[in-house]
Every structure is written in C-alpha cells, then in structure tokens.
Symmetry: C2
C-alpha cells in the first residue's frame, strides 16, 4: 500500500519502546510532513550519538567521553559507589541530585530464568574496583524485583570479605503515596523499618 521507504521507516520506528504500529505510522507521517524541522535533525542526532557516545570504561555510564562526566568530576565523592542495573536508573538518580558519589552500571540483573549470571554483568569489574581501594561504601540500588534483590544479595556476599560498608536503598511509602493504594509488601516494609520521630 505504501512505498518501501515509508514501510521501512514505520518498521524502524515501531521497534522503539513505547511506540506501537499505529503510533509508528503517525510518527512516520509527522516526520515526512516536517522534513527540515524534524526528520533531518532526528537522522543527524542518531548518527552523531551513534558515533560519539561510548560506555564509560570505569562505571558503564553512557557519555561522549570516557571516563564519563561523573567519573571525571573531581567534586564527586569517589569513596561512595552506587550500583544500578541500567543507565536509565543512573539517570533517574541524577535527576534527583541527591547523590554526589559515583556509580557502577551492571547492565542488568542476575536471572536464573534467562541464564544471566555474574559474569554476564559488570560484577567482576565492580569487585576489581572495590579491591583497588579508595571505596568506603557501596550502595546497592538494584530494582525491588526478585532478580534485582537476588543480585543485591549476591553482591553483598561477594563484597563482605573486602570490609567496605554495603547498604541498600530504603523501602517504604513513596513521597505523595496514599496508604490505600500501596501494595502489602511495601506497607509491611514501611512498618518494619519505621523510624522514631
């Protein structure tokens, strides 16, 4: 029905997370309607990012320089390392600006089901970073999922002999959260970890 070039564009757009076939068609038409303003800049941004962006050899963050802006920033506390599953998690923590240490991106979580063990993740490089010294605390910020928690437990075990402090994010009621809408697990955790006022 449509030419091969349009079809190929729709197929490529439909592979983006968050775009189904219908919204990919809409996006393709929108791009073709605004070529100078949208299509061309998007193509150039893709090629430029594909050329320039590299994973940081220290922490696994994505940036146009290596080591990344965070690892290279002398104002960030090198003695604290926050371990996350994905670069997206690192970005989420950075948006909050609450953490001034450094990161380590695992590239996923351990999963017996998917056959992902420690060696498929950036766990050996994390252990080497800790062994090299200079790190006082490792904050495990993997997801609150079965795989994320399995990974955190494994890391806590492996890091124990090194003597560094190992912590994890607090579990509890999210800011703005209404008790009525929270799941039982979160409520139990919030009750168990209650704090004196």
């Amino acid at each position: 029905m449509v030419g091969p070039e349009i079809e190929r564009l729709i197929q490529a757009l439909a592979r983006l997370p968050g775009l189904g076939p219908r919204s990919a068609r809409r996006a393709a038409l929108h791009l073709l309607k605004h070529r100078e303003r949208l299509l061309q800049p998007l193509a150039e941004a893709l090629l430029a990012a594909g050329r320039a962006v590299v994973p940081c050899a220290v922490c696994g963050n994505l940036d146009s320089r290596d080591p990344c802006g965070i690892c290279a920033d002398p104002r960030r506390d090198a003695s604290m390392v926050c371990v996350v599953e994905e670069v997206a998690d690192l970005w989420a923590l950075e948006r909050g600006s609450a953490f001034r240490g450094r990161y380590h991106v695992l590239g996923g979580a351990m999963s017996a089901l998917d056959g992902i063990g420690p060696d498929q993740l950036a766990i050996p490089s994390l252990l080497r970073r800790v062994e090299a010294g200079g790190i006082g605390e490792v904050i495990l910020a993997t997801g609150a999922t079965v795989d994320g928690q399995t990974t955190a437990h494994y890391l806590a075990d492996r890091l124990a002999p090194s003597g560094v402090r190992v912590s994890s994010l607090a579990r509890g009621v999210p800011v703005g959260g209404e008790l009525d809408y929270l799941d039982d697990g979160t409520l139990s955790a919030a009750l168990r970890d209650r704090r004196p006022l």
Copy 2:
C-alpha cells in the same frame, strides 16, 4: 548530566507524536544499547525516506513515486474520488480495503480560528480535477468535527455546479459499539438515518 549528543537525540525523539520526555529518554537509551540492530537502521530509514518520498502531484498521497501507487494503478476506479483531510486518513481507508477508487488529500480542514481557508488546502486542485472531467462521484470523508464538516459543506457548495454526485460517509453506530457508551449526537444520527431491514 548527559553528553550533548545524547541530549540532542533525546530532544529530537521527544518531538515525535506519542513520545514524551520520559519515553524519549527510554527510547534513546534503547537505541544506544542496540546500535547495529536499531539505531543505524532507523537513521538510514529516515534518510532514505526523506530522499525518496514525495507527495503525489495528483492526489497529495505520500509515496516513493509520483503519481503515487494508487493514482498509477489502472485497476482503481478513476471515476470515484474520496476526499480526506490527511494522508493518515487515506491510509486508514486503505487498511479496510473497502474503497477501490482514488483519493484527494486536502492537507487539513478549513478553520476560521486558525485562519485556514480553501486556498491553504488542496481545494483548488480538487476543483480542477473535477472540471477536467472523468469523475462521476466525490465522496467527502473529512472528519466528523466542526472544521471537517465546515470543509465538507464548503466543498459540496463548490462542487454543486459541476453536476458530479457528492456524498459523505454514513454516520451511525460503529461496528462493535455499545449504545450505552455512545454520545447523543451519534445516537441521534443513527436513529435519523435508520434503514429498513
């Protein structure tokens, strides 16, 4: 926080319809994680489509050839022309395969509020197509909105002297629609245009 190339890519993705800032970040990371499989093919598909796709000089459809595949297809009935606002509407009708005539894409609807009159749309070229002869019926398939209906009324007036049959899409209960969920206007129209069984 992120390098300029990543920021530029996120900005360009966020301008797509259906992608907000959060999903644009997710999409950018997904593309950077799968460069060979996703990022490169998307950039190439964009450039190829931007080069090859042109509007059809006859009907305004987008295709990699001009006249487009529909206008060039001798099996399609050239005596029927279906008038739509956008290429997306043409694609929607083609997915149903119910129409075997040709199209005319207006490029929008008339709007007093936005200052869009007949000359900003492909209305003069539609009138020339009808004047040139060979067309027996014009089906007005503009949207069931105020602007779409204003455009349809204007076109019906302008086409009246030419003597061609002018029709519009039926209004009524959509297939699979439950009466309880339908708006009053649709129900009134369905009742008024009821048909004998």
